[in-house]
């Protein structure tokens, strides 16, 4: 199999997205399978294809910090991207990749994992599409069908700015933002964090190219964009900056974010006779790791609310288990909450299961 390597180094932030889209949209039978390696020249936020810009991003903050926002044709949630990441973008003919999404991820995540391992980082692929070091995620990936091509995008993480990522998202409360920020710190890692230093881009690039060659059993031929691809790139550069593209309508707003497979920060609400109960939580698989209760209901004595929150840590999001635990807490502490029963609180927490996250 022939594979063209577009090793483009640092490119304008816009083109760190539009180059792979251009190769995909311009693909015809003569286009070689292509891998692009790029990093953006400045930080930006990139939202998923089906997201709605003003529902997901704090645009005022982004404007004040001069952080531009782009929309990609790949799914998933909003991400903060900068030169701390080396983007690895596969633009392949569909028939040259496995047909199953699982197998595609396995083939193309493998070289990224092996690159980390060569650097001394004990990375592993956790299906479907995460790369983990221990329990922490190091980089994300996504797949899309664009034109004739199947596109798989991923990244190698030198460093990551959790603060800006958490700040740039539009969230319903600062409690939610705090949990996102803390969860990013707890469940994400980088080469700098694992190694205590940031390895050189050239070394990482060199290892990666070797691992790609081995995994694909192909020579990577250094190449450049064709005339057709450059013209497509010009058109896409205009389209990606157009208000019409940026402000495409999306689906319902996401009431949570997926930090890595199995770890979500989510919010849910339940209207009880005594008032609205809002739950903000970090849920790992089906277990509550951290939880905050708020709303406009009365809880007496008020200072015990934190104790109730703590008592639910480690519990499964399960009706019987939650109701038993909350009942026991109420009885032991003599809690009173007019119009809000332990079953209402349990119902509010159970709604975490329904809160969608990409």
């Amino acid at each position: 199999m022939q594979v063209r390597l577009l090793d483009l180094g640092t490119v304008p932030y816009l083109e760190s997205q539009t180059i792979y889209h251009a190769v995909a949209h311009a693909m015809d039978d003569a286009t070689p399978n292509t891998i692009a390696l790029v990093s953006p020249d400045r930080p930006y936020i990139c939202i998923g294809y089906h997201q709605e810009l003003d529902k997901e991003i704090d645009l005022e903050y982004c404007r004040s910090q001069r952080i531009p926002v782009l929309r990609r044709e790949v799914g998933g949630g909003a991400v903060y991207l900068d030169d701390g990441q080396l983007f690895v973008q596969f633009i392949f003919h569909r028939e040259n990749l496995p047909r199953q999404v699982e197998e595609m991820y396995k083939l193309l995540i493998g070289p990224l994992v092996e690159t980390y391992r060569t650097l001394g980082i004990e990375a592993r692929h956790r299906p479907l599409n995460d790369i983990l070091v221990g329990e922490r995620k190091i980089g994300g990936t996504g797949i899309a069908a664009i034109g004739q091509a199947t596109v798989v995008v991923g990244s190698l993480m030198f460093d990551f700015d959790s603060d800006t990522m958490a700040r740039a998202l539009k969230v319903s409360s600062e409690k939610m933002r705090d949990k996102i920020y803390q969860t990013l710190r707890d469940y994400m890692t980088t080469m700098k964090r694992e190694l205590g230093r940031r390895p050189s881009r050239e070394r990482v690039r060199s290892i990666l190219v070797g691992k790609l060659r081995e995994a694909l059993e192909a020579e990577l031929e250094p190449g450049r964009l064709t005339y057709k691809e450059r013209k497509t790139l010009e058109a896409l550069n205009g389209r990606f900056l157009s208000p019409r593209w940026l402000q495409l309508k999306g689906g319902p707003p996401r009431r949570g974010i997926l930090i890595r497979c199995g770890v979500r920060v989510v919010e849910a609400e339940h209207k009880a006779p005594g008032g609205l109960i809002r739950v903000t939580a970090r849920v790992r698989e089906d277990t509550i790791e951290d939880l905050t209760l708020s709303g406009d209901f009365t809880f007496h004595p008020e200072h015990l609310l934190e104790g109730l929150e703590l008592s639910l840590r480690g519990r499964r999001v399960d009706a019987d288990e939650l109701t038993d635990a909350i009942d026991a807490f109420y009885r032991a502490r003599g809690v009173q909450s007019p119009g809000v029963s332990p079953r209402d609180l349990s119902a509010a927490v159970l709604r975490l299961r329904d809160a969608p996250a990409p």
Partner: protein, 154 residues
Amino acid sequence: MAQAKEFHLPDDLYYDRKEHIWARLEGEGVRTGLDAFGVCAAGTVAYVKLSPVGRQVQKGRAFGSMEAGKYVGPLKAPVSGTIAAVNREVLANPGLLNVDHYERGWLVVFTPRNLAQDIADLVHGPDVQPWLEAEVVEYEQKGMLKKKEERQCK
């Protein structure tokens, strides 16, 4: 009703073999949706986007897109025509595709342009059962049925 394993495909519908989109002839219109195989391959659907009413779409071209299982891909028209209706319920609740893909989870209704010619390519009636059985065998050989669980991040 054609059936193999857990998959049920009503044989009064017409099916696009490659895209697993179904088509139902309803008077002047053609209602479409994703069949049981399409749903299985997709996993839990997170988003659906559909072109607006009035848009003309050619057979085989996208009339929308879908995001599921860490994958985004187009929804391709089984017939050429003009979109006459869009299922707003499925836009608000994409999970309907997973739980009720032949009824409440429909996608769009087309006013077809070349119906007789377009449906000739689609599988229908007594041809559905053998096609379905062949699909099950192929999917099993590819490990698709076994790996359905793995897509749920367990």
